[in-house]
């Protein structure tokens, strides 16, 4: 194939769009994280996120998260059209600051969990989940 002016332009436009799409999703995820942490520094100790390495069906991906002593844990899927997944708030009778649920993932992406500790600090864990069939029904 000869590289004509038209082809070059199309390629350039295509790659620009391709570069923009994940950036927009990532920006939304960062906004969701900032809304939860208020821009505070985020550590990495004391939180466990369990998710399958490969999920065949993105419609129902089992995950569990545990952060001993946490007040609240937010789960974010950065590659989804809407990054928010769930926020667990633990009351005085929660025996363990842990929970399991099933979530939808649009495609292969990192799932992030951030816990807020009673002293106002934040810790984060993330896992990459490879999704064979996306769960957005698009």
């Amino acid at each position: 194939m000869k590289l004509t002016r038209r082809h070059t332009l199309m390629l350039a436009a295509g790659s620009a769009v391709a570069a923009l799409l994940p950036m927009r999703a990532a920006a939304a995820a960062e906004e969701a994280i900032a809304a939860f942490t208020g821009g505070a520094d985020v550590g990495s100790e004391g939180i466990t996120l369990t998710a399958p390495e490969i999920a065949e069906n993105g419609n129902t991906v089992p995950i569990s998260v545990s952060a001993p002593g946490a007040e609240a844990i937010i789960i974010i899927a950065a590659g989804n059209p809407e990054p928010g997944v769930a926020t667990f708030n633990f009351g005085p009778l929660a025996a363990a600051q842990a929970g399991s649920t099933r979530i939808r993932l649009a495609g292969t992406q990192d799932v992030v969990a951030i816990a807020r500790m009673p002293d106002g600090s934040f810790v984060q864990a993330s896992r990459e989940v490879k999704v064979t069939i996306g769960g957005c029904g698009g």
Partner: protein, 109 residues
């Protein structure tokens, strides 16, 4: 659209004093995400359960805020402390204003 919504909760009937229990909850709900389109290309409006809470004798165990990324038939598993005999109350809040509740008694032996 609150049809065939049926909460299912598993709580042990008895617990030894000082022990904690694991609670599993499931509620049948289609959790329409607002991202899908029907055959004519129209977006199907969002219709989800947006909040789930569990309390024991009025005190909070867990309070979950849910987004459309939670799967159909939302499932939650968590641990609870049982300081005395009493009642667990589970509540789900639907986008359309409906509230679904389920209660389970537990005795401390």
């Amino acid at each position: 659209m609150a049809e065939n919504v049926k909460p299912r909760v598993r709580v042990p009937r008895e617990v030894a004093a000082g022990e904690t229990i694991t609670i599993k909850t499931l509620i049948s709900h289609k959790m329409e995400s607002g991202q899908r389109k029907d055959g004519d290309g129209n977006v199907i409006p969002r219709s989800i359960i947006n909040r789930f809470t569990c309390t024991f004798n009025g005190e909070t165990v867990i309070d979950v805020q849910m987004e459309p990324a939670i799967s159909t038939n939302p499932f939650f598993e968590f641990d609870a402390a049982v300081p005395e005999s009493g009642t667990f109350e589970f509540t789900w809040y639907d986008d359309d204003g409906d509230v679904y509740t389920e209660t389970k008694e537990i005795a401390v032996s």
